[in-house]
Structure formats: C-alpha cells, structure tokens
C-alpha cells in the first residue's frame, strides 16, 4: 500500500503546494513553534552537561570541564543500582504491561451491549487521569503493613505477619509493576480499539462462513489486523526503556526498599537537583537520551529486518 502511494505521488514545487494548502500550513505553525520552543531550543542546554555550571553566569559563561560530570556521576555506587533498577523495572513493566491493553481491547471490542462497553471503558480510563501522588496515597492506605489488606487478612486469621507489599524488595517491585499496569491499561486500549475498528468487517464475515469460532476469529483476523500497531507501540516502548517517570517510583518508594526502588529519575533528583548540581543532572539526562536513541534505533532495525514496517 505504502509503496503504491509513493509511486503515484507527483512531486510539486513548494510554491504550488503552499498556495493550494496554505490553510494547512498555517495550522501547522502552532505545533511547529511548540516543538522549536519546547523541544529544540532547550536542547542547547545539553552543553551544561560538559560544564561546571554556575547558575548565575548561565550556560554560555560557565567553565568547560569536558566529561568530568559524567565521570563523577558514573563513579557513584548508586548510579549502577539506579541504572539496573530502571532497566529491570521497565523490562518487567513492559513484559507484564504490554499485552494487557491488547487483551483488554479485544475483550472490550467483543462486548455487544453498548452501554456496558461505554461504562467499562470510562472506568478503565479513569486511573490514567489520577496523579501519582493520589495513587501513592491510595496504595499506602491499601498495602502498607497497617493498611486495609493486611489488617483484613490478619483479622480473618489468614496470615500471621503482614505481607510486606511495600517494605520488601521483590514484593515492592511486584506491587510497583502491577499498580503501573492497573493505572495505564485502560488508556493503552485506545490505540488498539481504533486499530480494531479499522479491520475490514468482511474478513470477520468470511471467517464466520468458514466456520471459525470467536477465538479463531480473534487469533486469525483481529490480531493480524492490529499487528502493525502492536509493533509500532512495541518499538516506541523499547525506546522508552531508559526513561522512567519520577513520580511513580518516588511516591511508592521508601528507605526500606531503597535498593529496589532507586531509579535514574530519583537518582538525578537526589544527586543533581537537590544539591543544585544541575550540570550532573543534565549529564545523566543526556546519557539516558543517547542510550534511548540507540535502543529505539536497534528495535526499529530489527523489526525492519523481520519484514515489518518500522517507525521511520
């Protein structure tokens, strides 16, 4: 499909297309300005990573120190812990969290009663709009040693000692992952649902006539139909492996599980921002971005080799 489109496209001079589609170009001004102002202009700031940054002199006048900030940060013992945790938590999160929206989208798609479908969709989206601070408070109330779950289980005599959902490393990581899955699964279904809507209905009918049952239809029609969406989202997710939000680990973490909950974002906050060492914080940020770029490129390359369409 894509190939055909490029073949019939006639190359037009910019002047002609500007004259014809000026409204579209005009509308583009806003998003383009946004990207220049908020994505490209701040990129200049990465030079702070190579400076002994003096906040009052600014990034043009601060002393140039080369890779010193990188060396300092990477020599810190906590850096390795944070890096490993970031990758591990993201990997587990991807493993547990990636299939859930797909399954959920298929299930939602199969609901026939429109009202039930609408209500369940809304309920599923809801957690996405809650701030992590609120979710953190809820998690504490529910899973803390003196929280609802432990108190109830103890009262019923099912357990003797509290289950350390938040106070033991592996338990904490499980809680962290599952809460994350719960928070984002509903929102994640949106793209899949729209992809499913795009599947030609005749394919389902043909499958039905051939005697395919529901599971077979899902397996042979729905899933292949949304395969390209799945792949694109997978690549994008792999590109995010080095990035981890700040709020979630910061809010859910506590000193007792420090070795399991310390990630790059919280490490940057502590070793860079809290000490007002913006140069070191920038260095870690730059490191994260470069590794992220490498990862996303690799994932893209592999998918292309496997015969799928990549994202570029």
């Amino acid at each position: 499909m894509a190939k055909q489109a490029t073949e019939i496209k006639v190359h037009q001079p910019l002047r002609v297309s500007l004259a014809r589609d000026w409204r579209l170009y005009f509308m583009m001004i806003l998003p383009v300005t946004f990207y220049i102002l908020f994505c490209y202009k701040p990129m200049l700031g990465i030079i702070i990573a190579f400076e002994k940054f003096n906040m009052f002199k600014g990034m043009w006048a601060s002393e140039w120190v080369g890779f010193k900030n990188f060396e300092f940060v990477m020599r810190m013992p906590d850096f390795k812990v944070a890096l490993t945790n970031t990758l591990w938590l993201n990997f587990v999160g991807l493993l547990a969290g990636f299939p859930v929206p797909i399954i959920l989208a298929i299930m939602l798609n199969e609901i026939r009663a429109v009202k039930v479908k609408k209500v369940s969709q809304t309920l599923l989206y809801l957690p996405h709009f809650l701030s992590w601070i609120i979710i953190g408070g809820m998690v504490l109330q529910i899973f803390a040693p003196s929280g609802v779950v432990n108190t109830a289980l103890k009262r019923w005599g099912w357990i003797e000692k509290s289950i350390p959902f938040l106070t033991e490393g592996v338990h904490w990581q499980t809680t962290y992952t599952l809460v994350g899955v719960w928070q984002s699964m509903g929102w994640g279904t949106i793209l899949y649902l729209s992809a499913i809507t795009g599947i030609n209905m005749e394919l389902f009918e043909a499958a039905k006539i051939d005697g395919a049952n529901k599971m077979q239809q899902i397996w042979h029609v729905t899933l292949p139909g949304i395969r390209s969406t799945i792949v694109v989202l997978l690549i994008l997710n792999v590109g995010q492996m080095m990035n981890i939000g700040f709020d979630r680990p910061f809010v859910l973490g506590n000193p007792q599980v420090q070795k399991y909950c310390d990630v790059l974002s919280t490490f940057v906050y502590r070793a860079g921002i809290k000490n007002s060492k913006f140069d070191r914080a920038t260095a870690i940020g730059l490191f994260q971005s470069v590794v992220g770029l490498i990862m996303i490129s690799t994932a893209n390359l592999i998918t292309k080799r496997l015969g799928e369409e990549g994202i570029w």
Binding site: M55, Q256, Q258, D262
Partner: protein
C-alpha cells in the same frame, strides 16, 4: 460586542499607563518572599499583615509591597529554581537553600553599604556577633563583606520528648529517666494494650530529608564520650551513626521493633498514620519540637483529649547518656534563617528591601506584625504587655491567619525586646497549656549542645550530602528491621556503604574545616 472589547482594551491601556506613570513618580515595587503553610482559607499574598505593612511602611516610603508565596516545606527547591532562572523575589529568606553556593557563584548582592545607610535599627537588633555569621571575604581583599543577614532566634530549644501522663498513672510508674525505664514503660504499655489493639508504644518514622536529625537524639544517649574527641565530634557532624557506642542505640531500636513497640511500617513515611495514632490515643511516646503537642496546626493534645477523655501528653527526659551522666539536648545555633538580596534585584528595590527590614526591627512594628490585633488575634495583654488568651488560628478571620514566625522574619520566634518577656511569651501563646509548655521548654534546655555548622563551604558536603542522607535512610530501615542475630553484620555493611557513597570525603572535609577553625557549635563531651 466589538465596541465593548475595544473599550476594554482602551481602559486596560489607560490603566497600564497610569501604573507606568506612578512608577515614574518614584514608586518602587518590592517583591518579598513569604512562606506559605497552606493554612486553609489563608492567602499570604493578600493578608492583613501585607495591608498593615503597606499602610505604615509602603505608602510613606513610596514602596509597593508584594508578598510572593513560597511553599514552606519546599522553599529551598523553589528558591534555587528561581535564583537559577533569575526570577527570585527582591528580598528572600531561606533555611535550607545553599546560600554559600549562591555567594560563591556570585548570585547575591553585598549588603554592607545598604546596611550602614538604611539599616541602623536592624543592625542593633541582630547584633554584631550574629551579623558576623553572614560575613565572608569573597573578593580576597582581606575584608569580609556582609552577604546575608542571619535572623535572630528567640529560643534555641529544639527537642521535646513526650509521654502519656494517663498511661503512666495506669501503670503506676514514675516518669522514665533513662533508657531502661523507658523500655520498661513501652513494654508494659504494649503488654496491657493501653491504646487498644492498635497500640504503638513508640511513635517512630524515618525523616527522609535528614534521617539522622531525629534519630541521633536517641543514639547519642548510647555514645561513649570517653572515646570521642572534639575533633571527631565535628568531623562526624553528619554521621552520628559512626560515633563510638552509637551502634548500641540502633540495636536498642532493633529490639523495640521486634517486640512490636515501634510501628511496623516505620519506613513508609505514612504521616497520616502517625498523626492518627498520636491523636487517637494509640501512641505512648514521641519526640518533636518542644511545643509540638500544643501547636495550632497539629494539636495532638486537644485532638487526643477529644478522642480519649482524660488523656494528655507531658514532657519527659529519658535519653540519659551514662558516660556523661547527662540528658543531652541539641539546640539550634543563635542564627535562624538567612535573609538575602539576589543580584537580580534592582538598586531601588534593594534599598527598599533594606528599609523594610529596618522597619521590621522597630519594636512597635514587630509587635503588630507578630501578634496582630487585640480582640482578633489575642484576648488581652498581660501586665508585661505580652498578648495572652491567644485565639486559635481556626477561629480568627482568614486574612489574619499568618504564622507569626513567618512574617517578621528577622526574628525567629516572638520577640518583645526583653529576654524574660521573650521566655514567658513562649508559653503564653498556648492558652490553657501554659504550664505544660513552660515545663517542656525547661526540659528542652537541660544539658544542651549547639548544633554544628561550618562557616565555609565544605565541597564534599555539597557533592555528597544528598546521597549520604539517602543511604542513611536505607541504613536506618535495614538495621532496625533486620533479624536480631544479623544486626551486627547489617550494621557494619551499612556503615561501609555510607562511607563509600561519600561519607568518607565528607568526614575528611569536616575534619579539615574543624582544624581550620571554620565551624560553630559545641561538643557535649568537653571536659
């Protein structure tokens, strides 16, 4: 519709020109950082104190005052951001922002000329000794410049320990005076479930910002001062867990934890649970500021009395250090927060800022700012002229809800320009609990030592302090919750880790600063 819009625009333009004209009239706008404690109903940018200062100081001096709201508990982060962005208020104050770094990096205005010309009353109020805390020689000419103005602390008391009076009576016990007696009290309270099935005898949590800040009050009681030199005391300023003997203090906490005398989730920083336990009567002992149980914002005493009739808190001194025979209490140094004028402040605003500080230092102005109005903020004056029958914040009109310590920030605490009155005033503002608060301050001022501070920047501390603190929090959680037979191994491994994340460098840095004499504070073991 169009006409309306254009009319509006013309009006806006006219108004804009008017304000421009007034600026040309010699009016200066002074933006003052003001702490915001999220008091319900209260807006710091539009409060009675602002109006009072505007009328009595601003208008006569052609200065337009603006209060800029800074959340109290994140003030340092906010200030660093604004300083870095060049958008800081004209007059700032801070407890925790890296003032020394601001000075070193050239972000502050030197204050000598301003102070000499516009600040005679301020100079007299703060005093030479305290002012010198804010001086250092940055240009290398051998003469120190004034970089910040330290606020004067009215009371340096910092620690209060509180026990349930009604529990002691039920247990037929005297107030514990040492660790063994306290342990016995906690055990008995648990055994008899004095707080019901939720009994938590000892309220304890990790203060992640500075984990050892509270804990050292416990562990210092176990330190063997025969083995501590003054130099070590200062070198280990941020690492009290490494003082000889401190290990036993942590072991004691470990024991308490396993006997379920500490909250099981002590590491999860569940403030709500802690407060609930204190006010619902589950808790038997806690440590805080000397006036904490009676404070307006979290009145543990009043709430407790509501929940459990007959219950009350009283002050106690259980942390006896055997090697000294003293109940050690750390106290603040005489300087409070640091007042600074950023380099970005205009010359005119800087002059206005100094005039404002000077105006604050005049007794009647300070009195009004701190105490408010008779009949609204307090019932009457005592014979000595100290407000009494102070009205609870909840019951004053919204624009009068300013925290007394925040508005007149050249003084930390109520000031009546008389030491005896100042001491009396500490308790007088707690209507109905004057005696309890007075006793608590007496306890807090027994066997005191002044907290350590270094007067030059110790670079290792700037580099590593945050990582060391985070490691200390982890250490604390680990040594308290580990199995008793593993305690020593966990403790040693934890100390090693704290050392490797930067404590070694910090200790060396502090030691050097001690040897160079650039420190303040006292050594409790001094012979």
């Amino acid at each position: 519709m169009k006409k309306l819009v254009s009319l509006f625009l013309v009006l806006a333009l006219a108004l804009g020109m008017m304000s421009f004209a007034s600026a040309e009239d010699g009016w200066v706008t002074l933006r003052v950082e003001t702490y915001d404690r999220d008091t319900p109903g209260f807006d710091v940018t539009d409060c009675w104190q602002l109006k009072y200062a505007q009328e009595n100081f601003g208008d006569p001096n052609k200065i337009k005052l603006e209060f800029i709201s800074y959340a109290r508990w994140t003030e340092n982060d906010l200030l660093v951001n604004d300083m870095a962005g060049g958008t800081a208020p004209d007059l700032c104050m801070t407890y925790n922002a890296p003032v020394q770094q601001f000075i070193n990096d050239g972000g502050l205005r030197p204050l000598d000329d301003l102070l000499n010309e516009y600040g005679p009353d301020l100079k007299a109020f703060i005093g030479e000794e305290l002012l010198s805390y804010g001086q250092s020689d940055q240009d290398g000419d051998g003469v120190k410049e004034q970089w910040f103005i330290p606020a004067r602390r009215m009371s340096v008391a910092n620690v209060g320990n509180f026990i349930r009076k009604d529990w002691l009576e039920k247990l037929n016990m005297e107030k514990p005076t040492n660790i063994a007696e306290l342990t016995e009290y906690l055990r008995q309270a648990k055994a008899q479930n004095l707080g019901g099935e939720n009994t938590i005898p000892f309220s304890f949590g990790i203060f992640a910002q500075d984990p050892m800040f509270n804990v050292r009050r416990i562990t210092d009681a176990f330190v063997d001062f025969n083995q501590v030199t003054e130099e070590d005391w200062f070198a280990l300023a941020h690492n009290p867990e490494m003082l000889p003997g401190a290990r036993e203090g942590f072991r004691w906490l470990n024991t308490l934890y396993h006997e379920e005398l500490l909250p099981e989730g002590f590491a999860t920083n569940d403030d709500l649970a802690t407060d609930t336990a204190l006010t619902q009567g589950y808790t038997g002992f806690f440590s805080q500021q000397p006036d904490q149980p009676w404070r307006d914002d979290k009145n543990y005493e009043v709430e407790l009395e509501k929940a459990v009739p007959g219950a009350s808190w009283e002050t106690v001194n259980p942390f006896l250090n055997e090697s000294l025979g003293k109940h050690l209490h750390d106290v603040y140094s005489a300087n409070g927060l640091s007042i600074i004028i950023p380099k970005t402040t205009s010359d005119e605003a800087a002059v206005a800022a100094m005039k404002y500080l000077n105006w604050m230092a005049i007794p009647e102005n300070m009195f009004m700012l701190q105490n408010g109005i008779e009949g609204i903020n307090y019932g009457r004056l005592t014979e000595d002229g100290i407000p009494t029958d102070v009205v609870n914040t909840e019951n004053v009109p919204n624009d009068h809800k300013m925290h007394a310590g925040d508005i007149c920030f050249i003084a930390n605490g109520l000031c009546f320009f008389d030491d005896v009155k100042n001491a009396a005033a500490l308790a007088l503002k707690f209507t109905g609990y004057e005696d309890e608060v007075r006793d608590s301050y007496v306890d807090a001022m027994t066997d005191t030592w002044t907290q350590i501070a270094f007067t030059t920047e110790v670079e290792a501390a700037t580099d590593y302090d945050a990582t060391v603190k985070s490691k200390q929090a982890e250490f604390l959680a680990a040594v308290i919750s580990c199995d008793a037979d593993q305690f020593d191994a966990v403790f040693d491994a934890g100390i090693e880790e704290i050392k490797t994340v930067g404590a070694t460098e910090m200790i060396e840095g502090f030691r050097a600063a001690y040897q160079a004499g650039t420190y303040r504070g006292t050594f409790p073991g001094a012979k």
